[in-house]
Symmetry: C2
Subunit: 351 residues, 2 copies
C-alpha cells in the first residue's frame, strides 16, 4: 500500500524498464524518435509505477503547462457558472486544466493576474473583461508575449483577437420593445458601473428602442448600481422608484433582479401592476419568483463551449486566425409574469 | 511604450543594478545574506523594469508555488461562491493565488485533480469533498506528499486534518422541529445522491427530530435527486408529492428549492397551504420567491475565511497542528412565507 502510493521519478522509471532516461523522456513526450511499442511500454509502466512528472521541470522542457485560464469578474452569477461548464466540457476532453481566476470586476486585480501569466503559467486564456477596465495595456502585453486570448461575453475591441458574444444590443432593444408593448411609458434602465462592452450595447439597445417607440429617455431614467448584490442597490432602486416613478424597468445584471423586487416591495409597488420588469439573467429561480420573472436568457453554456473550441483549435493546429473569429450567439426573451398586463392576484380579485 | 511592456530577466536586472545575479536572486527571495537596503533597491528596480520571474524556474528553486487550490464540487451554488469570497479575502492579503478546481461531484475528477498536485503545483489545499467520493486514498496520498489540506463544509473524517464545518445535524434538527411546530405531520427529506458528511448529518438531524416529535419516517419519506439542477429532480419530487402526499419538505441543497417549487406548481399544491418547505441555501433570491422561502442560512463567507486562515497559519509558521483544528460555525434558520400557517393569498381571500 505504501509502495503503491509512493511517487517515482524518471530515473527510477528508466531503471525499472532498463531504458535510458532520454528514451523515457522522449517516449513520454510522444517523440517521433521512439517506436510506438516502446511508447506503450513506457506509458503502461509509468501508470503502474505511479510516475509523476514534476510540473515545473516538465513545464520548463516542453514550454507547455497544459493549463488554460478562465478570467472572469465573478462566479455568483448563473451566466458565468454555466459558461464555465461549457468551457470545461471542451477542456476536459483535451486533457487540459481550466483554472478559474476571479477579478471581482477590478482592473487592478485583472492586471495583476494577467501579469503573472507572462511567466508561462498558462497556454491560453478565456476572458471576460472586468467592468472597471479602461486601460487594456495588460491584455495587449500578454498577447505580445505569445499567449492566445479568446474573449467571451465581455470583449475588448482594442485587442485584435477572437470573441464569442451574444447580441446584447438586439436583446436590450427587444426587451424594451416588449415593455413598451405591455403599456409602459416611463421606462428606466438599471445597470452597473463600468465600461464593459456588453453594458454599453445594452444601454444603446434600450435607448434606441425607446426612440423608435417615440419615447425620449431622461438622464434620470438611468441608474448605476454597484457590481455586487448589496443593500445599496436596493436603496438606489427604491429611491429611483419613488422619485422618477417609472412603470417599467430593464435590469442588465442578474443580482439586480432580487434588488429590484425587494425595492418594489419596500415602496409598496406591485409587480407587474404598478411596474413591469425584465432582467438579463440565466438564474434558474426566474420561474418561481413572486411574480415569475421575464428574462433575457443568454446562451451561456454554448458561449463557453465555442470560446474554448476556438482556443483549442488555435493551440493544437494554429491554422486559424483568432483575430478574424467573432461569433455572436442569439439570446432569447422569455416572457413571464413580471411583464403581464395584470397579475394573477388581480385576476383573482376581479373574478 | 514597447520598452515599457518588455519583460526583463534576472540577468538584465543584475546588469542594470551592477550586482551579481546571485545577489539579485537572494534579494528577491528575501535571503538573510542580503542587507535590507539592497533588497529594497532590487525590489524597486524589479518593479520599475518590469521584471517577471519564470514561474517554473522560480518554482524549482524555492519549492514554492505561492498558489493554493480550492477544490469544490460546483460553483452554481451560492454557498460556494460566498465561501470563495471568504477564502480570497484572506489569500489576497497573503499575495497568494487561489485557484479554483471543480470536481462536478465526481470522484474520478477529484482523484485526477489531486494526483496533479503531488507534482508540486500548489502549496496547500482547501477542499470540499465530492459527493461520490467513498475511497479517500487520493486525499491521503496528497497529504503524505507533504501538501497540507484543510476541509471546509464537506469534510472527510478518515483524513486527520483541519476542518471548518457548520452544525449540519442541529440545523436539520431545528428546521424539522420548525416544520412540526407549523403543523406538518408527514415530512419528507429531499436530498441528493452521495456519501458526503454533511448530507449524512442532515439526514440524521431530520430523522432524530421526527422521532423526538413522535413521528416515524418511512423509507418513502426519503427522496434522492441528481446533484445538479435538472428536470429529473422536478419529476422525482412531483411523483413523490403525488404518491406520498407529504405536508412538509426539508431540502438539503440550493437547487432543490427551484425544483420543489416547480414540482408543487405542477401537481397543483399551494405552498405553504398544502405543503411547507425549508431549504438549506444561501441564495439571495429566497425573500423574493413565490412564496418567500424559509432557509437554513450557512456562514459561507466566514467558513471560507476561517479555512484559509488555518491553511496560511500552517504555511507560514507551521506551529499549529492541523489535525487538532476543527471549527464548527453555527447556521441560522430564517423563517419566511414557505412555512407560514397560511399564505398571504389565502388571507386575502378570507378578508
Amino acid at each position: 500500500m505504501d509502495d503503491d502510493t509512493q511517487k517515482i521519478n524518471m530515473k527510477a522509471l528508466a531503471k525499472a524498464l532498463n531504458l535510458s532516461t532520454a528514451t523515457i523522456s522522449k517516449a513520454l513526450r510522444d517523440s517521433y524518435d521512439i517506436s510506438e511499442a516502446t511508447k506503450i511500454k513506457v506509458r503502461e509502466a509509468a501508470e503502474r509505477l505511479n510516475y509523476v512528472a514534476n510540473a515545473y521541470a516538465s513545464g520548463l522542457r516542453s514550454h507547455q503547462s497544459n493549463t488554460i485560464a478562465i478570467v472572469i469578474p465573478e462566479i455568483a452569477d448563473s451566466f458565468f457558472s454555466q459558461a464555465i461548464n461549457g468551457i470545461e466540457s471542451v477542456a476536459g476532453n483535451k486533457k487540459y486544466h481550466a483554472l478559474i481566476y476571479l477579478t471581482h470586476d477590478s482592473y487592478e486585480r485583472e492586471a495583476a493576474i494577467l501579469n503573472e501569466f507572462t511567466s508561462g503559467r498558462v497556454d491560453g486564456l478565456l476572458m471576460s473583461v472586468a467592468s472597471s477596465t479602461l486601460d487594456t495595456a495588460h491584455i495587449g502585453k500578454l498577447q505580445k508575449a505569445g499567449i492566445p486570448i479568446v474573449f467571451f461575453d465581455r470583449d475588448c475591441r482594442q485587442i485584435p483577437t477572437a470573441s464569442v458574444t451574444t447580441d446584447d444590443f438586439n436583446s436590450a432593444y427587444n426587451a424594451t420593445c416588449h415593455l413598451i408593448k405591455q403599456g409602459c411609458k416611463n421606462i428606466s434602465l438599471i445597470t452597473v458601473q463600468g465600461h464593459v462592452s456588453i453594458f454599453l450595447a445594452r444601454k444603446d439597445g434600450f435607448r434606441r428602442a425607446l426612440e423608435a417607440g417615440g419615447i425620449t429617455p431622461l438622464p434620470s431614467n438611468f441608474v448605476y448600481c454597484p457590481n455586487k448584490y448589496s443593500d445599496e442597490s436596493i436603496k438606489l432602486i427604491g429611491n429611483h422608484l419613488n422619485e422618477v416613478q417609472p412603470d417599467g424597468l430593464l435590469l442588465t445584471v442578474e443580482h439586480l433582479s432580487t434588488a429590484a423586487y425587494l425595492a418594489a416591495e419596500e415602496v409598496k409597488l406591485s409587480i407587474p401592476n404598478d411596474i413591469k420588469i425584465v432582467c438579463f439573467t440565466n438564474q434558474i429561480t426566474a420561474p418561481v419568483l413572486n411574480p415569475s420573472l421575464t428574462t433575457v436568457q443568454q446562451p451561456a453554456f454554448a458561449m463557453g463551449q465555442k470560446a474554448a473550441e476556438l482556443l483549442f483549435e488555435y493551440l493544437s493546429h494554429k491554422y486559424i486566425q483568432l483575430e478574424k473569429e467573432h461569433l455572436v450567439l442569439p439570446s432569447m426573451l422569455v416572457v413571464r409574469g413580471s411583464t403581464s398586463p395584470t397579475s394573477d392576484n388581480k385576476k383573482l380579485t376581479q373574478l
